[in-house]
């Protein structure tokens, strides 16, 4: 996954802050933290050039645990804070961490706008399908009928599909991974980091206190073969212990089939760089929830003008055209007269 000629200058420990991690024991957030700390040395960057920005929630405590620069912001606004930071400092690596409530409820607006602008920030959405920090209300990704303290008779709200939202917002990089597979997380985060633009990664994250086992149907070891569909660029989409299942495009809908029934040639070949997002969208919506075959990996990775650099280019063009900054000239630009 990384350039073999590269010698890391840091160790995972260099990326850990001195703060005691305060998530509940057993929380999926721990394994995501470990994956990121382990990944960082291989990225060819330094803690001092890295910033983690977050909103509010359990997930959003993340920046405190990384020995980098960090902003623990306010609920939902992390993508906007990060956008300003990335614009002012295109030289930095900016990561945004948030929960499903943070990024899809109160901050949904900022998320979609950051994605459509394609500003170079890496957004990791820790989806536990619940409001963890406020002790267990249903979230915008909770399934209909979820019984929580605020929905004792079952929630009535239809959930968002985070990947479909991101694709609808014209995200140029969209991926999914889960907290039970460190290597898959590291590979996915590495790809997000390498992407020149906004990168959106949904991480299935277990909240063992308020929504335990929400993703077990697909992430538990014994369920993975049958229910996780690893997407590999340029390869036919197949899964199962012996590759006995596959995915086909049936009149614009993705459908799971027995490979033997359709033949290898009928399987959909994954093309993450396909500019039209329809196939990625269809794959994103393949599973109705984390209880049936669910694709993971990179759904979409396309090139699109990066926002912060485009801003910088405009500044350079303006200098060319209008000349260097000259206060006297500006103050006289509307005409002057002498008394």
């Amino acid at each position: 996954m990384t350039d073999t000629s590269f010698t890391p200058t840091t160790q995972p420990g260099d990326w850990a802050s001195d703060q005691e991690v305060r998530w509940c024991p057993g929380c999926g957030d721990y394994s995501i933290l470990t994956a990121l700390r382990m990944l960082m040395p291989s990225l060819g960057t330094e803690p001092r050039n890295t910033v983690f920005v977050s909103g509010i929630g359990c997930a959003a405590r993340f920046p405190y645990y990384m020995n980098t620069y960090g902003v623990h912001g306010i609920h939902g606004r992390a993508p906007a804070i990060a956008t300003g930071l990335a614009m002012a400092r295109p030289d930095l690596d900016v990561w945004v961490i948030g929960g499903d409530g943070d990024m899809l409820s109160i901050g949904g607006n900022h998320l979609i706008h950051a994605l459509r602008r394609n500003v170079k920030i890496k957004l990791l959405l820790f989806n536990n399908q619940i409001y963890g920090l406020t002790k267990g209300q249903f979230s915008p990704t909770s399934e209909i009928g979820k019984v929580t303290k605020s929905s004792p008779m079952g929630s009535l709200d239809a959930p968002f599909n985070p990947l479909a939202v991101a694709l609808g917002a014209e995200a140029s990089f969209v991926a999914r991974t889960h907290d039970m597979d460190r290597q898959h997380m590291m590979d996915t985060f590495q790809r997000a980091h390498a992407h020149d633009g906004a990168a959106f990664v949904e991480v299935f994250q277990n909240c063992n206190v308020f929504n335990d086992g929400a993703f077990e149907g697909v992430t538990k070891k014994q369920n993975r073969d049958a229910n996780l569909i690893p997407l590999r660029d340029g390869e036919p989409i197949r899964f199962g212990a012996d590759g006995e299942f596959g995915v086909i495009d049936e009149a614009g809908c993705a459908r799971v089939v027995h490979t033997a029934d359709v033949g290898d040639d009928e399987l959909l070949v994954h093309d993450e760089s396909k500019h039209d997002p329809s196939t990625a969208f269809m794959l994103a919506r393949l599973a109705r929830g984390p209880f049936e075959p669910t694709p993971i990996g990179v759904f979409r990775a396309v090139r699109r003008s990066e926002y912060a650099m485009a801003t910088t280019r405009q500044l350079a063009a303006a200098q060319q055209k209008q000349g260097a900054a000259d206060i006297g000239q500006m103050l006289r630009s509307r005409g002057t007269w002498f008394v």
Partner: protein
Amino acid sequence: MTDTASRELPLQEIDEVIIRFAGDSGDGMQLTGDQFTSISAALGNDLSTLPEFPAEIRAPQGTLAGVSAFQVRISDFDITTPGDAPTVLVAMNPAALKAQLHNLAQGGALIVNTDAFNERNLEKAGYATNPLDDGTLDDYRTYPVPMSQITRDAVAQHGVKPRDAERSKNFFALGLISWMYTRPVEPTLEFINTKFRGRTQVIDANTSAFKAGYNFGETAEIFEAHYEVKPAPLAPGEYTNVNGNTALAWGCIVAGQLARLPVFLGSYPITPASDILHEMSLKKNFGVRTFQAEDEIAAAASAVGAAFGGALAFTSTSGPGLALKGETLSLAVSLELPLVVLDIQRGGPSTGLPTKPEQADLMMAMYGRHSESPLPVVAPRSPADCFDVAIEACRIALKYRTPVIVLSDGYLANSSEPWLLPDVNSLPDIGVEFATGFNGTNEDGDGIFLPYLRDPETLARPWAIPGTPDLMHRVGGIEKEDGTGNISYEPENHQLMVNLRQAKVDGVDVPDVEVAGDVDADLAVLGWGSTWGAIDAAAGRLREAGFEVAHVHLRHLHPLPANLGDVLRRYRAVVCPEMNKGQLCDIVRAKYLIDVSHIGKIDGVPFTTGEVTDAVRKRLEELSTV
């Protein structure tokens, strides 16, 4: 122009004139007013302008809702307001007459485009009978001029389509007024050439219309005189004519240069603040990054992010937007990062009067955030003062690492005045140092970085920006331990941090307030922000009438100048005109237990000098009877 043919009309010297151009939004009244202002500025008059736009972009033609007006006052003496009542009203159609006539001074001159007074237009304006001949205008000196017809005739030679021909009639009006007030014609001819460069037919048409207007004054035997307003004794130097929003934008950009920091503006369009976003977006060659965010929350949040990254960050808005930014500003208070918020106040509540001024966001600026969330507040007093106040706000924000709110308003935003250009070299250096190394040691004696270790004098914390080796640290909205900045829920620590944040703002170095006018008067007028011009002019009038009046005007609203209480206590009475229900009065009463009486006005129109004069005079007369 045609000197030889001109009738010998008397040339009368007058000390000032207040002209209001009024027409349909499509009639080009702003352009006309702007150009008249420019010529007068070049002649050396003191001046002050007040544009008035309809809230709707394309209100139906000929209706009251579509009337656009521009008031300009020129004088041969120092003035601080655009004047109370126009002495000359140019009305391009019945709607303009109907909407504006009540403003015209008794006996004022009224120049009407009679061609527009047809049945359809009269009906649209709601006139049952034609005001030109039903006695409505008996109290004024009315000059009926068939502007549309003469304009059409004048431009016919250029082959302009009849429908387009009339569009030059604003230049006819400008020509006529230029003649009446003996303005030179060359600057306007030049202006037409530059403004419409490349469109020969338009240049020809506007030039002909302008000349036709000028000649009409000279030859039509309806005017009894023309007038001259001599230059005002302004301080010598180079001047430009600037409105408040432009001055604010320039101040922000210049502050970036003075601080040697890149400028970032996060903003969401809103009247009357959008022009700041527009102006700053034009100055990308200064390295200014402007970001049109998805909403005001994102605008403020992006500015916080940019400030964390080491930019001089701004966010501009009006009242509804400031309300949305509240939570983000309290984050900035907690993070203790420099950030300047420009609030161009408008009438409310809710959408209210988007194009009209009000000063009713003062309490929101002071207290409109959850919990104890103090931040400095400053307010400019005139269009040109916006420049200095922008720099002052940045100075405070940078020195104390705090968000600062600037309270301008819709009046200052669009009103303009001559501005003696500052000597750029004499502007203050407001630069601050970023943290570059450790500022503490741990138990083992190793160097560590304490992001909340304060400067003992200013109580500002270090500003360590990403990219700096060794100073990696996390900031957040959760209460921080004094010094380390680590999360802390300790009761004593929270009390300490609340006190420190307040002490830091209380300790901002605000200059003492100075009393203008009669220091030893019995009565002081207290003001803040854009009421300065009207109060200053009212004090002048009262002085002429034999009264003594002191004027105390605040630029710094939080913290207040240290001497304010002592100064105000010297007076038997303190009155405070504000475009709100008494917000500064309440603050001053609460803080100093001084009984300030409120002079209120919240009708979307700035105080006139007359209104302030009358209200203050009443109080003065009460004082003299006790």
